[in-house]
């Protein structure tokens, strides 16, 4: 998506952050926008997911706005 010029941000949990680094580097996109989430997210329930979403929403918007700069 990002390579196509579509504003994109990857949401990556803490545990997978190093993998995200590796993949971003290997794709030649070390600075691809990413936002870090706590781990785990899957299966933690709607209330927790909403709380995390609220926590990171601003950061996600800023990252997407950065794509338009």
């Amino acid at each position: 998506m990002a390579k196509l010029g579509v504003p994109a941000v990857a949401l990556v949990t803490q545990e997978f952050w190093p993998q995200g680094d590796f993949v971003a580097r290997s794709l030649g996109m070390p600075d691809v926008p990413r936002v870090k989430l706590p781990h785990p997210i899957a299966g933690t329930g709607t209330a927790n997911m909403k709380a995390v979403a609220t926590q990171v929403a601003l950061e996600v918007i800023k990252a997407l706005e950065g794509c338009l700069d």
């Binding site: 993998q19 590796f22 993949v23 290997s26 794709l27 899957a42």
Partner: protein, 365 residues
């Protein structure tokens, strides 16, 4: 370009390779320039010939780098054409190598060898313990593919290979089909290749799960129970196949079980259709077990879109047990198999390296 490291001795070189994270954790044969050159020579191709890129690191798989892995894995030069075919197969886009290497699932490429190369580039065992220890070609060919996936593809546990536990087949996972004793045409002919072609088929697979079944010659319906058991094994509700559906899985029939099904008048295609039909679960049952993966709705969920999503072959010793390998079922191509011709037209026999060549893939020492 392949990096060249220097060390004072083979022991020091081994420790250096371990320290650099370039091994699978077991001792390797040190890939000296001479050994690598010999392996490249055996391929009959140029060292800088590019087979493709391997994800997730997007490393360039040259013939020389593949040869390095083959040397490290302990391959004989004879095996090189099969190793090359296996690398070509996993590089095919349909195999989704990048996603497969990065997933949290335990999936590993199962290598199935068909055709004359089983013998001329092996022997690759298809008999007793073919997936276990003691078969040099099986052990080292599968290991060579894994080393390419690590050292060219860049898969490192916990950093770029996120398998939560993995499984022992990630060290090596290779067998041949027992074409000589199978009542069915060879698997590769079902996949569209000619009988005289030599073909490597790779499929992402969980560790083998044993399926027990004792035949009963007095029961004309004995095959029904066997089909039921195979279906339960390959797509029980705890598998990704049942929950996520639409990924290809593998069934390895032992000679007895293949015979039971053959005598019931079933072809390979019929067996796949019968198992496919049995691999479905009520949505309500799946929802109760795992609501996150199975929404509450009426009807059933089929584990396989069609019978073609079941790879069926015959291998192993004679007895009660067949093996099934459920699968990951994700990636763009949903865990599709990939096949590649073994090209040994230009392969070169290396003087002094030809050892233990046998005319049978099941030869005993």
């Amino acid at each position: 370009m392949t990096d060249l490291f220097r060390a004072e001795s083979e022991e020091a070189a081994l420790e250096d390779l371990h320290t650099r994270g370039l091994t699978d954790g077991l001792p390797v044969v040190i890939p000296t320039p001479d050994r690598v050159s010999q392996m490249v020579l055996a391929s009959g191709q140029e060292a800088d010939m590019v087979l493709g890129t391997m994800g997730p690191g997007h490393g360039l798989a040259t013939m020389e780098k593949v040869a390095v892995a083959a040397v490290m894995a302990g391959c004989l030069p004879d095996y090189m054409p099969i190793v090359v075919a296996a690398v070509k197969a996993v590089i095919e886009p349909v195999f989704d190598l990048t996603e497969m290497q990065a997933t949290t699932h335990c999936t590993a490429p199962l290598i199935i060898v068909n055709g004359p190369a089983r013998i001329s580039c092996g022997p690759v065992s298809s008999g007793y313990g073919a997936l276990g220890p003691g078969h040099r070609a099986n052990a080292s060919i599968g290991r060579a593919l894994r080393l390419t996936m690590m050292n060219i593809g860049g898969a490192r546990p916990g950093a770029s290979d996120m398998a939560l536990l993995g499984h022992p087949g990630k060290f090596t996972y290779c067998l041949a089909e027992d074409e000589e004793n199978s009542p069915f045409p060879p698997l590769h002919t079902t996949l569209g290749f000619g009988k005289e072609d030599s073909v490597v088929t790779v499929i992402g697979a969980e560790a083998p799960h044993s399926v027990i079944h004792s035949g009963d010659g007095d029961d004309p319906k004995q095959h029904e129970g066997l089909l039921d058991m195979l279906a339960i094994g390959v797509a029980n509700p705890a598998t990704n196949n049942a929950m996520l559906s639409s990924g290809t899985a593998t069934v390895v029939l032992n000679p007895e079980h293949a015979g039971i099904l053959h005598r019931a008048g079933l072809s390979r295609e019929d067996i796949a259709a019968e198992i496919c039909e049995r691999c479905q679960h009520p949505n309500a049952e799946l929802h109760q077990l795992s609501p996150g993966f199975a929404p509450s709705q009426a009807g059933v969920r089929k584990a396989f879109r069609s019978p073609e999503q079941l790879l069926i072959l015959m291998a192993g010793g004679s007895g009660l047990y067949s093996m099934v390998m459920p699968s990951w079922c994700a990636g763009t191509h949903r865990n599709s198999p990939s096949s590649s011709l073994v090209d040994f037209e230009f392969a070169c026999e290396i003087p002094g390296a030809e050892m233990n060549r046998s005319t049978s893939p099941n030869a005993k020492a």
